[in-house]
């Protein structure tokens, strides 16, 4: 561990907060229809889009109407993406398939389409050996934008329900989607993409380069429109890699500086949404309380991961490698990590992308130490509420806030109220279901995959029969259920003898189970969140009295952390014991 390593972690937290506050103010203006400085640029395209799409933006929707639009739109996105990937060769006329890759197999494409629609970006394929530039742009990049837009829309709708003063309406889905894409995602992605190219990322439609190296070995270098996808992949907390090694690839993430930029891009919207919530609720301290909760848990995770990775792994020590910091070397567990990021830059990136639903990696999570690898497990077990995905993080933690209010109310013996609205039996039922469905789905799929021969076929040969094999399986379904998409990458659902899909086949069991895992665990909680919004929207607001439990002070922050940890621990502890914790506690090699 080094001073600069700690500075990386704490400096990052400071910069993030400084950037997220003004963005939160801006986004509050976007969703309440106030003027913003980008209005002159986007008002006309917005009106044009409504006209073409036949949307009446003034028509308010109740939660059922909102949910219906959202589901049907997502389905349309799924169908188009599935079609594009299955007919990859059909688009060769665009010139955007220079390597002449074949179309995807049905089972892996099913998994991929479900994955990108749900903002998961779990990938059983490897980008540079299967995807044409056309598929990456018109298929995958599009869902990077839209799945993020859908997530933010749900969060905004839930906020409207919580703060709504009358009626049952929670906004207009199409308006929220279009405004998110135009005012929030496109401008930031555009700037980040150009910064990345400026710092060394590529953005090119060239065929792969053929190199004759200094020692006259042939080397082929994969190319592509990388920066544009990299930017939205981080910004929309999607995480779907362009190249197989994701943000470890020098073209995706060329330097220590871009590593910082990408981490900030991942967390900026989830963090800003919290400040936006405080403003929209008319009480910024509500936002600060939630932000503090998230930040405390985030820093805790980052510290544990950094200490664990700096310590090194049992395999390193057994091989006689010394892992302490020496002059000119970072030391630590550098297996599966890049020199330019070092230990702190890799550990922090890992925490940033697993607390959110991003799931991008700049190092191999599977090669993290037992405890270092337990950190992403713990982050996922907390159901993505430590900042979380764009939108999903906020609406999930708001459900936890309501749950904490309910539990707090029980403890002090008063009717639980949040921002003046009574939390009653119907809401608590919806909240409990909304929060428990994701963990239940993850555990159900994990047990199915561990118990069946078809499921165990996906475990990598080196990990078979060891706790690592269980960790791989558990992480796969936990990550997919939480729509994260990071992986213990030895777990496979695609067998590919040669580049280009030809002669390749998917592992149907893993592909299909994973696909349903992602879709169910994404849309069921969305429906419950929207139902809660609908239930709260119509409630009368009673003035706060002396007996009202405050939700904007440190006591509540402690209560909220307690509830999140308790729910996560009770659900996942037995399973965590079997995998990462066992590995963290032993120096035994398997």
């Amino acid at each position: 561990m080094t001073f600069l390593g700690w500075l990386t972690i704490f400096g990052f937290a400071l910069i993030l907060t400084a950037l997220a506050m003004p963005l939160g103010r801006y986004m509050a203006a976007v969703y309440t229809g106030e003027r913003t400085f980008l209005d002159p640029l986007f008002r006309t395209p917005e009106r044009l889009l409504y006209k073409v799409m036949r949307v009446d933006p003034d028509r308010r929707q109740d939660w059922k109407g909102y949910a219906k639009s959202l589901i049907i739109f997502s389905l349309a996105g799924w169908l188009l993406l599935y079609f594009i990937l299955r007919t990859q060769t059909l688009w060769d006329w665009t010139g955007l398939n220079p390597q002449h890759f074949h179309s995807g197999t049905w089972n892996v494409t099913f998994n991929t389409a479900s994955s990108f629609m749900t903002n998961t970006n779990w990938q059983y394929y490897s980008g540079e050996t299967t995807m044409s530039y056309f598929s990456q742009m018109a298929g995958l990049t599009v869902q990077n934008f839209l799945s993020a837009g859908v997530g933010i829309a749900v969060a905004v709708a839930l906020i409207r329900g919580i703060i709504g003063r009358s009626g049952r309406e929670i906004g207009n889905f199409w308006q929220d989607l279009v405004r998110t894409v135009l005012w929030v995602l496109t401008p930031i992605a555009f700037v980040v993409a150009l910064v990345l190219v400026f710092q060394g990322s590529i953005q090119s439609f060239s065929h792969y380069l053929s190199v004759n190296t200094l020692t006259h070995l042939p080397q082929q270098i994969a190319m592509g429109p990388v920066a544009s996808q990299e930017a939205i992949k981080e910004l929309g907390t999607n995480g779907g890699r362009f190249f197989n090694t994701n943000s470890a690839h020098p073209f995706e993430n060329p330097s220590g500086f871009t590593n910082l930029v990408e981490m900030l891009t991942v967390l900026i919207i989830p963090a800003a949404l919290v400040f936006m919530y405080g403003r929209m609720a008319g009480n910024r301290r509500q936002g600060y309380a939630i932000y503090s909760t998230m930040m405390i848990m985030f820093l805790g995770a980052a510290i544990v991961a950094y200490v664990a990775e700096a310590h090194g792994s049992p395999a390193q020590h057994a091989a006689g490698l010394h892992t302490q910091v020496i002059a000119g070397s970072s030391g630590g567990n550098l297996e599966g990590k890049e020199q330019r990021f070092g230990i702190a830059g890799s550990a922090l990136f890992d925490v940033v992308t697993t607390v959110t639903s991003c799931g991008a990696v700049n190092s191999a999570i599977e090669s993290f130490t037992g405890i270092g690898g337990a950190v992403p497990f713990a982050n996922l077990s907390a159901s993505e509420v430590i900042f979380g995905g764009v939108g999903t993080g906020l609406y999930s933690i708001l459900l936890y806030v309501l749950l904490a209010v309910f539990i707090g109310g029980l403890m002090v013996g008063r009717t639980p109220e949040y921002l003046g609205k009574k939390i009653e039996a119907r809401e608590v039922k919806l909240i409990a279901l909304g929060l428990l469905i994701t963990p239940l789905t993850a555990l159900f799929c994990t047990s199915l995959a561990t118990a069946s021969k078809a499921g165990r076929a996906s475990i990598s040969s080196a990990a078979a029969g060891s706790p690592q094999g269980f960790s791989e399986t558990f992480y796969a379904y936990l990550s997919q259920a939480n729509n994260n998409g990071s992986a213990f990458a030895g777990y496979t659902g695609y067998i590919q003898p040669n580049p280009g899909n030809l002669g390749a086949h998917g592992i149907t069991f893993a592909d299909i189970l994973g696909g349903f895992d992602m879709m169910f665990a994404r849309y069921a909680p969305i429906l419950f969140a929207l139902a809660v919004a609908g239930a709260l929207a119509g409630k009368r607001v009673s003035p706060a009295g002396l007996g009202t439990m405050r939700t904007d002070n440190p006591t509540f922050v402690v209560l909220l952390i307690g509830v999140i940890v308790l729910v996560g621990a009770l659900t996942f502890f037995p399973a965590l014991l079997l995998g990462p914790i066992v590995q963290g506690l032993t120096t035994h090699l398997y």
Partner: protein
């Protein structure tokens, strides 16, 4: 319901044109005009021939000829590779053997992690193998070198498999060999090492690293390719 279906169908097409075609094209256009070198992969040419990308690592190894007169291959079909002692060597790459059977190291068209777990015997064996290979190559020129002094980046496989950098400690050790093989004074080699060492992002983000391809090219220029 019908209204939602119509709006969804039109919406997904229009938004695909906007986010999937227009946005990447505009970014490409601006990048190609403003940063053409970066956008096209920082290609390096020597004598008009493409020898690599500045930020993509390559294997500075040679493939000897086998008994049948063809380039030698291993039992699993990968190339037999021997480090070229006049060059600084990049980090172990998981795209090559022993990590990937039949693979080529630093394969930039099929990158992969090693995915070796922290408690696996396979990991220990891979690391021990890398340490042994490193000692075999460097010890003759740096007699004080022991396993305990091998920097982690020289023994652990990189994440991308094409890591362009090595640590400064690693470069300092290899400098003994390169200076001896090329008959250069140690100070000349060390000057070039520090010339191609990049610092941390804005002073604190990440680790310093030595760009191996640039360093080797500079050495070739100094000694005229020998």
């Amino acid at each position: 319901m019908k209204r939602d279906i119509v709006t969804s169908a039109i919406g997904i097409v229009v938004l695909t044109l906007l986010c999937g075609i227009l946005y990447p094209l505009v970014v490409t256009g601006i990048s190609q005009v403003a940063f053409p070198g970066n956008a096209n992969g920082q290609k390096i040419y020597v004598g008009g021939k493409l020898v690599g990308s500045k930020i993509i690592g390559q294997a500075f190894e040679t493939q000897p000829t086998g008994k049948n007169g063809k380039p030698a291959v291993t039992s699993t079909g990968g190339p037999v590779l021997i480090p070229d002692p006049k060059y600084f060597q990049t980090r172990p790459s998981a795209t090559g053997e022993p990590y990937t059977a039949g693979g080529t190291p630093d394969n930039a068209a099929g990158t992969t992690f090693s995915n070796l777990g922290p408690n696996n015997t396979a990991t220990e064996q891979a690391i021990a193998g890398n340490i042994a290979a490193y000692l075999k190559l460097e010890q003759p020129y740096d007699p004080g070198l022991t396993a305990a002094k091998v920097p982690v980046d020289a023994a652990n496989s990189s994440a991308s498999g094409i890591d362009p950098d090595i640590s400064v400690a690693n470069a300092d050790i290899q400098a003994h060999r390169v200076a001896a093989v090329r008959h250069l004074p140690m100070s000349t080699v060390m000057q070039l090492v520090s010339k191609y060492t990049h610092g941390r992002g804005i002073g604190f983000s990440g680790e310093p690293g030595v760009n191996v391809l640039q360093l080797n090219l500079a050495l070739d220029r100094v000694t005229g390719g020998r």
